[in-house]
């Protein structure tokens, strides 16, 4: 079969468009639209006493100014808590425009609409907001100490106390031959898509309908939110995600205030309105992630096998909880990784701070969980004088234990049951790929060059492809073109290629004939969105099922026309043919024409089809009962639970003991996402994830000062790694297909970022012999650590005397 494309490294079809400037991003739309700009709070916590817009009114080109006072109906109510949870006992959300109190720098207070963005900023600059400053809470420790409260009715700053346990942890710890307790920290970073958020809205007064473009990861839900908040019927609203320049999680949050305010202004003004977020706005008013304080107690036996694990996490959720406690739940449940932990208890206290909200950023709580678990493994190995790989190996779930039930409840409310995997296989491949057992030689070589070298590893399991569902629609046109539509959105992952590969393979057509559309509510109204490494699993399977439906119908029609047994028919290269009988065939495009009994001969396709058309039977309706005109099919994939991908990373770092510069000189990844649709795209996803992992480990942090001012809200001072900072990455694949879905695939989008912080922390610790308990770490911090007489040294370094 020549059209088998599943599993092939098909080149990304979208790239020619995207890299030659022919992409259509949010800011490419609506060149003549009015522009919105926002007056945002300069204070981290303050009461809004007065908003004086007087001075802005004579700015030429000003069209409108909106404050909270101008909001009506549902718009004047707090923004929704998207994902409520019983353990989120104090959910808080902001308003589209500040109502009385601001809780972080960057919170929108006034919206200005003008003829262009320059004018809008001129006017915004003239608006005088009077604030009364309130005490500020920054950082998870300050929130925990609760000397001040972010929300006055939540005096302990605790929004949620998430708790899961698989047994009685205290007696298990008491019975453990060895125990260790330690506390560690991980800092804030952020998604930082190159394209910020953005919204364009156009109201058609004659049609009483609204079209909104949003740089979103969830156009169907943005549509629902806009309809509800602006009191419009759902059928009067369409939302389209155009080309989106990266998401990484921040654009799954919805509705952003601007996603409601821009359409509101468009309706009120009867004009197109657009807002394209600038970089500073993105830093101070979108979302961050990752800050946690982790208090860990582990019990283990003489062989290093864990007998009990008790974890208490303090999680900084920022000023509000619009996305519920997804990130804490993911940390809590994914922390256990590939290991069999007999008794596990986790409590995550999610606390308010006067900072930008915390919502999923690629990995979504997993990097933190992995950091907790993997650094625990390192501690056990160090305590017992065992090899770190060996300790891990002894704790791994073995291949014969699948499906493996952790007795935990995942983010989707379903049990954490690992569907398939081979974790010892991952570890073996990783050890070979990175040369783990030859680390001594690498170390000696580095020492001869005056460098300190360390190796570290980290393993993870990632629940991917959560439900509830995703749908696909496949339609064959008379031209032979195959239209594929799914409701979830694309942010550059390669969906146009991957979904086309799947449909072309399933249907038996050339990939060139397949056209993929995503994220457009005009084409597909039911969708969940692109997040949680779910697009390939969910929409991949949905479009496969839809294609199978089309194939079945095509064969039914063709069998009728060719007077053949359907079981003898196959579709290849767009031709339906009787297997083994050359000439007994009909093009799929002709089948498409025949599928519709109304055949005005507008085109050649219709004319050609007439030779195949049979006279209808006089005693049957032209469209049989239960049938429908057209060669198309819509189907949904709804999994019983998530499918669990896995992987193992290793980092080799070199450190200059004169300057304490840290260089990742080797990075190895073994990756298992089940059946791979396109290995090139999977590797690209891994590369991007590793880059963000290196960023999170060594470069990126949100540098808030004690007043809640973000001191590095620009690309000059927020250090995302350049290509020059990202190491070459060696990748090996392992494929353990998922038994849960028809294609046997697992998600791959987030994987690359998950173990970076853990593996690099381990490698640095290995190199310098000092305990690394806070990440990211920069050269200046490493210098401080090495000078600190009281800094804890690893057992390994005390025994070998290396390094100094």
């Amino acid at each position: 079969m020549t059209t088998k494309l599943f599993g092939e490294p098909v080149r990304r079809r979208e790239d020619a468009r995207l890299i030659t400037g022919r992409g259509r991003y949010l800011d490419d739309i609506g060149a003549g639209a009015l522009a919105a700009a926002f007056v945002r709070s300069p204070h981290a916590h303050a009461r809004v006493l007065d908003v004086d817009v007087e001075a802005a009114l004579d700015v030429e080109g000003l069209v409108a100014v909106y404050t909270y006072e101008d909001l009506t109906g549902p718009m004047a109510e707090p923004l929704p808590v998207l994902i409520p949870h019983p353990q989120l006992h104090a959910p808080r959300t902001g308003y589209p425009l500040a109502n009385g109190v601001v809780n972080h720098v960057g919170e929108p207070v006034v919206m200005v609409v003008a003829t262009d963005r320059y004018v809008a900023e001129d006017a915004a600059e003239r608006i005088v907001v009077t604030y009364e400053e309130l005490p500020v809470v920054v950082g998870v420790d300050a929130a925990r100490e609760a000397r001040a409260a972010v929300h006055e009715d939540v005096p302990d700053n605790v929004a949620a106390r998430h708790h899961q346990e698989t047994g009685d942890v205290e007696p298990a710890l008491a019975a453990a031959p060895h125990t260790l307790s330690f506390t560690q920290y991980i800092e804030r970073s952020a998604c930082m898509p190159l394209e910020g958020k953005g919204v364009h809205a156009r109201w058609d007064a004659d049609d009483a309908s609204l079209r909104v473009y949003s740089s979103t990861q969830a156009s169907t839900s943005v549509r629902a939110a806009i309809a509800a908040k602006l009191e419009l019927s759902l059928d009067r609203v369409e939302v389209i995600a155009p080309d989106v320049g990266g998401g990484f999680g921040v654009k799954i949050v919805h509705p952003w205030p601007e996603e409601l305010l821009v359409p509101m202004a468009a309706i009120r003004l009867g004009r197109e309105v657009k807002w394209a977020e600038d970089r500073r706005e993105h830093f101070i008013s979108s979302a961050h992630e990752r800050q946690q304080r982790q208090e860990i107690t582990v019990g283990y036996d003489d062989d290093g096998r864990i007998t009990a694990l008790d974890v208490h996490v303090w999680h900084d959720n920022g000023a509000y909880t619009p996305y519920g406690i997804i990130v804490p739940i993911v940390t809590a449940t994914q922390l256990v990784g590939p290991y069999a932990i007999p008794v596990y208890r986790v409590v995550v206290e999610s606390v308010f701070t006067n900072t930008v909200i915390v919502t999923p950023y690629r990995g979504a709580g997993r990097p933190q969980g992995c950091y907790a678990m993997e650094r625990t493994m390192d501690r056990i190995a160090d305590d017992l004088g065992l090899d770190r790989a060996e300790v891990r190996r002894r704790n791994l779930i073995t291949p014969d234990q699948f499906p493996y039930d952790h007795h935990l409840t995942f983010q989707d409310g379903r049990p954490v049951i690992y569907d398939s995997g081979d974790y010892p296989g991952l570890l073996d491949k990783l050890v070979a790929l990175v040369g783990w057992d030859e680390a001594g030689a690498l170390r000696a070589d580095a020492r001869s060059r005056g460098k300190m070298l360390g190796v570290g590893m980290a393993l993870y399991v990632e629940g991917t492809g959560p439900g509830p569902y995703e749908g696909g629609h496949v339609q064959v046109l008379g031209s032979g073109k195959v239209l594929v539509s799914t409701g979830l959105t694309s942010q550059g992952q390669g969906h146009e290629t991957v979904f086309a590969q799947i449909v072309a393979s399933e249907l038996g057509v050339p990939i060139e004939d397949v056209e993929v559309h995503t994220g457009d509510t005009r084409r597909f109204g039911y969708a969940v969105g692109t997040f949680a490494s779910r697009a390939a699993v969910m929409s991949g399977n949905a479009v496969a099922l839809a294609a199978r439906g089309v194939r079945e119908k095509a064969i039914r029609i063709a069998a009728d026309v060719l007077e053949a047994n359907p079981e003898d028919l196959e579709i290849d290269e767009g031709l339906v043919q009787v297997r083994g009988t050359p000439g007994a065939s009909i093009p799929l495009r002709t089948v498409a024409v025949l599928s519709n009994p109304l055949r005005y001969a507008f085109d050649e396709a219709a004319k050609q089809a007439t030779q195949f058309a049979k006279a209808g039977s006089d005693d049957k309706p032209p469209v049989a009962e239960g049938d429908a005109p057209g060669l198309e099919h819509r189907d949904y994939y709804s999994p019983i639970r998530s499918t669990f991908a896995s992987g193992a990373h290793a980092a080799v770092v070199e450190i200059d003991p004169a300057t304490w510069e840290i260089d990742v000189v080797r990075y190895a990844v073994v990756h298992d996402c089940g059946n791979v649709v396109n290995p090139m795209i999977v590797e690209g996803q891994v590369h991007g994830g590793v880059a963000q992992g290196v960023g999170g480990a060594l470069y990126e942090r949100m540098a808030y000062d004690a007043d809640g001012q973000l001191q590095n809200a620009s690309f000059m001072d927020f250090l995302m790694p350049y290509a020059s900072e990202v190491p070459d990455i060696a990748i090996d694949h392992q494929e353990t297909p998922s038994p849960l879905n028809p294609l046997g695939i697992k998600g791959a989008g987030e994987a690359g970022v998950i173990p970076g912080t853990a593996a690099i922390a381990s490698a640095i610790e290995d190199a310098v012999g000092r305990r690394i308990t806070s990440m990211p770490i920069s050269p200046t911090e490493l210098y401080d650590l090495m000078r600190n007489e009281t800094a804890e040294r690893t057992q390994a370094s005390l025994q070998t005397g290396v390094p100094a």
Binding site: D122, D278, T659, N712, M716, Y722, P779, T780, Y783, D784
Partner: protein, 295 residues
């Protein structure tokens, strides 16, 4: 991040530029724009008028003579790194200039940003301010009253602040030639390749006729509020170049500097780097001094 309204003027002569600058209050000179335009976009600067020098003739030359290298106001950083006769001559006369320029940001910025603009911007994190200081350089300043030479000591007043009056245009910078029996080196450490340095060091080593160290001077990047030149001679004076204790010079340097703490590095860490970079660059500079002594 859109600039506040400003007037834009693109004079065709230096006189016209000076007229515009003296007529307008709050006018600012635009050359490469690599520092100025982000400041405008963030509304950290809001000049009433931008006077764009890019169409003023005669400001784009690099002249190397036995005395030194004169770099015109419109010479882009990248120009000093090219293999053209003027750039090569400049590199022979004062090799520190190109060596430091190679550390200026990224190619795109080096293609537009100017050496003189970087000096006039007076950012202590910029390479060119320190190079001007270390070479004992000066700038030529044009005002409606005429031209004058301003030595580096009189130019830098504070971070992003010079002694120049609003209506002045820096038309060139002059970097004196490297003295004989001397060598230079430049190195910096940045968090990411091409970023502003956490710390940078430029050094000049001069030998006597017996290949003994006679003078050592250094200037640092991102250390202190204005460029300074530190004399490190006493740490190694009279030592044979092959066995000079460069580490001692590094240690001395650490006692002379007064760096600040920011989000990227503590003052202590910068002081550490001052020592390390001094030691490393002095060894390289000494090698060049030996080579040039032999020539």
């Amino acid at each position: 991040m859109k600039p506040a309204p400003f007037r834009y003027a693109d004079p065709r002569s230096l006189d016209e530029a000076l007229d515009l600058l003296s007529d307008e209050t709050g006018a600012k000179v635009l050359a490469g724009g690599q520092s100025l335009l982000p400041l405008l976009a963030m509304r950290l600067a809001a000049p009433a008028t931008l006077v764009d020098l890019n169409r003023v003739p005669g400001l784009d030359t690099v002249e190397a003579t036995g005395d030194g290298v004169r770099v015109g106001a419109l010479v882009r950083h990248a120009r000093l790194l090219r293999q053209t006769p003027d750039a090569q001559a400049a590199a022979r006369v004062q090799p520190l200039l190109a060596r430091a320029t190679a550390n200026v940001a990224h190619p795109a910025i080096r293609n537009r940003g100017t050496t003189v603009g970087s000096i006039a911007h007076a950012d202590p994190s910029g390479e060119m301010t320190s190079v001007l200081a270390l070479t004992g350089g000066s700038v030529t300043v044009a005002t409606p009253a005429g031209r004058e030479t301003v030595g580096w000591q009189d130019l830098f007043v504070g971070p992003l602040e010079t002694s120049l009056a609003g209506g002045a245009v820096v038309v060139d910078a002059f970097f004196p030639a490297l003295p004989e029996r001397s060598g230079t080196a430049f190195a910096e450490i940045a968090r990411r390749k091409g970023d502003y340095a956490v710390c940078g060091a430029g050094v000049v080593v001069t030998l006597d006729e017996d290949r003994r160290v006679s003078a050592v001077r250094a200037s640092y990047i991102s250390v202190g509020l204005v460029p300074e030149v530190h004399d490190l001679t006493e740490a190694v004076a009279g030592e044979p170049v092959d066995s000079a204790d460069w580490a001692a010079a590094g240690a001395l340097a650490r006692t002379l500097v007064d760096p600040d703490t920011d989000i990227h590095a503590s003052a202590d860490y910068r002081r550490l780097l001052v020592g390390v970079l001094t030691e490393r660059t002095l060894a390289d500079a000494a090698a060049e001094a030996v080579q040039r002594s032999a020539a």
